[in-house]
Symmetry: C2
Subunit: 247 residues, 2 copies
Amino acid sequence: MHLEFTSEHHKSDGVIERRFTLDGIPGILWTPASASPSAPVPLILLGHPGGIEQMHPRLAGRAVRAAADGFASLTIELPGTGDRPPVPVTEEARADLRRTLAAGDPVGPDLVDRLVLPLVDGAVPEWRSAVDAALALPEIGGPVAYSGGFISIGVRLALAEPRVVAAGLFAGSYIPAVILEEARRVTIPLHVLLQWDDEGNDRQAALDLFDAFGSAEKTLQANLGGHRGVPAFAGEDAARFFARHLR
Amino acid sequence: MHLEFTSEHHKSDGVIERRFTLDGIPGILWTPASASPSAPVPLILLGHPGGIEQMHPRLAGRAVRAAADGFASLTIELPGTGDRPPVPVTEEARADLRRTLAAGDPVGPDLVDRLVLPLVDGAVPEWRSAVDAALALPEIGGPVAYSGGFISIGVRLALAEPRVVAAGLFAGSYIPAVILEEARRVTIPLHVLLQWDDEGNDRQAALDLFDAFGSAEKTLQANLGGHRGVPAFAGEDAARFFARHLR
């Protein structure tokens, strides 16, 4: 399986943005113009909550920053989101979530499992195939890091994919109990961002997850503000984390 | 009142280290060789738990890093520590602490108050006098930041001393309830370091203190490890915090 490129855009900031499909899954690859077969670059996987076209401005911003540090970035659509066919269990769980939130009820562990685990189970093998396909390109050489907001996918990838050597995680989503258990077996270096007043996030769950990670190097950086209020300097600190572990 | 210099040492790394007394209080001032009346430098106050000669290697390390960024650093001995005359209430509280820890009992709020508050009440006016005296030197111009491990002194200084524009705090000491209340009125930018597994520290108390701060810009950086295990990159991140707010 390889990346079938469907468009190529040379941006003014020296980054090449290519859309592709991988066995029908839409994705985007960003490479610094400097990347070449004689100077292959490391790869950052850009995680997200689903909907890569809607997320494109923010994903592209992160990719441009990574390219400035000499790294390629790749993202793929999640199962059942964006232009991909709906996944019935996920549709049902999301409808239940809307009803639960509208009723002002707590989001219980069963609903969290139904919202998150099918996506993790579906997505992780696809992200691994994407790593295979990206590393088959002569201008991309590894190592690989995960960076992103779907923290459960990051945990599972950190555990399942030995080519992922570091992860920058954004603590802003529901965390199933099984993922909390898997986190104990994660040993790669981690940089976890937590927005202290994230309205959609359970702060204690994020602290518990950070505590659970088995990694010998793990950093939690909490900043004041809501879900989208990550300060610029936090992005810089995260970029330095990747530079330390990918170069 | 002015700094009476008692020694001057031009270190090989381009830093001038001068010991002084201020109305009988011993202290150390480090300035980058570049500091001059025509190019006065900002000032970082180096907080510590008491005993500046014992702490000298670590304090000097922080000062050399600050000098590389173009900042002077200053520290003074705390009341009743190092070569200063003992303070009876503090001696008594420390003896009670040793007995409490030896017995395996919890350190209650009354003991925390007795251990910390007399030191804060005594030290903060002295640190303010030291700021006066340091800023009277032509090569030091401000602004001023507090950096250090005696977090309650940092909180009180942040509140009491308008020339302190930012604080980098090391969450590793007992926190009296009155300091937690004062923290709500602190509004300067903060960078709080927490060692996640600090054996001598109450993690929840540190998180509560971080939550209490009224500052619009506050960052908590937690790293795996014990009290003295702060990783080098955390020092770099803290240095960048000071550079953002002092330049």
